[in-house]
Amino acid sequence: MIRQKRIANLLLTLLLWILVLLIVVPMAMIVLNSVKSVNESAVMSLELPTSIHTENFTQVLADKKIFRSFFNSIFLSVASATLSMLLSALAAFTLARNRTKGNRIIYIVFLLGLVVPVNYIMTVRVLQTLQLINTYLGAILLYTAQFIPFTVFIYYGFILDTPKTLDEAALIDGCGSVRMFFKVIFPLLKPVTSTAMVLNLLNCWNDFIVPLYFLNSSQKWGMVMMMYNYFSKYVSSWNLVCAAMLVNVLPIVIIYIAGQKYLVSGMTAGAVKG
């Protein structure tokens, strides 16, 4: 019986590693082409490069603007992911704990954000009224606003599952409710928090709509926009285009790998039991 199980597991392992090739091959193509010569990369293929051209990367990185845009990306992503995480956790906490009729409606309104179409012109007008147009703060708040619905959604489910007794104990201990939340409840939410952070960082990193429409200075734009510009600069030089893609993707892959061990546990708790 145990032996049978082992063999089954072995076969399954084999199958999964073969399947994973399907996932990896397209990404391997990017990596392979990023170190080829121009002519070898004219047609994107899986053939191995005859020689390794690391100068593709030096050429892409030679642009000094890339570092500024890298820090812009980091700043915008971290700030908006953090802000939406903190605000959503707080909101989801009250809404999940105190389910009055009013609070349920508020929660449903939050969920509307998952489906509503963005209207750029009206959004610009609102940002103009608030004098937030073309500022980092405006961009961060805009991202936050866009991330809040999904983030509230996953926190809500998780919080439903944590015992209420903790809140009461904390209150009796004399904590004020904000302090109580951050001292007692928030640490318990760590799995969802990591999930929310990873997903929101990903979304923010890959977004080009907000800079394009709401930040009228390329000094404030992030890495994705740089990548777009490389596409035309290096037109039909797939090796450089691929190198630019990799440079853009690498930081976010690192963030993902660092956060991924929490991803499953966060989802466990959050979305699934919602």
Partner: protein
Amino acid sequence: MNYNKIYSKWFWVPAFAIFFILFLLPSILGVFFSFTNWNSMSESLKWVGLENYKKIFESGSSIRPFANTIFFAVMTSVLKGGFGLLLALALNRRVYGRNALRTLFFLPMVLSNVIVGLVFQQIYHPTTGVLNQFLNLLGMGSLAHGWIIEPGLVMWSCVAVEVWKASGFNMVIFLAGLQSVPTDLYEACDMDGGSAWQKFIKVTLPFIMPSVVINMLLNVISGLKVFDVIYTLTNGGPGKMSEVVEIVILNEFAIGNYGYGTAYSTLMFVVLIIISVSVIKRYAAIGGDSV
């Protein structure tokens, strides 16, 4: 205990304020334009009532984008869910390199859709693409196709890319759901001599039902809102064979037909609300009183 004191309403106000002012409000204000003749050429805004909506329903060319969008949403939802579930079930067992596998299967989610579109354009190319070359290599040259130029195939090829990209996301949510299945129930089922299928139906499925619903909800929403995967892969082509609603909206906006474009996006919004509300209601029925 006075709950209003512990669970202060101030907690949700900041999140709600930012969300409402910067996201919901402008979007809802935008709906107003769908009842006007707003376009980039005319100076004055004129109220036209339901004229734009009438045009959408009367125009024969609106059928394909809607049909394509629904096809894409349904197919990707089912396939992403199916593959995601299978992967999750497999990776919930003690296979070798489990964490590495989980990481790799999720990895495509990290890529921006622009990159995905560009790369798959190359993969699908009939003569120089890796896919057909691979089929030829295996001696299955008869299966080689013009994946994104044959009208009958193009939507399937788009679906395949989305499934490639996002099955890993479904997997993660299912994996999470599987953690909540109590192992002693499996043992009990083993004792009764239940088959693997019976175990799945009787034990696993009821526990992961919430993940099924959540996956389907998110899949359907993202499927109906699909834009950049298809845009970078086919630009709606060949002809209008793979045109989806969001591409029509972009094209209308680009030529300055704002009123008409907004009517399209409002229509989508209504469809999305109807679908989401019904899913959430069902969700609430399964997950107890969560909404």
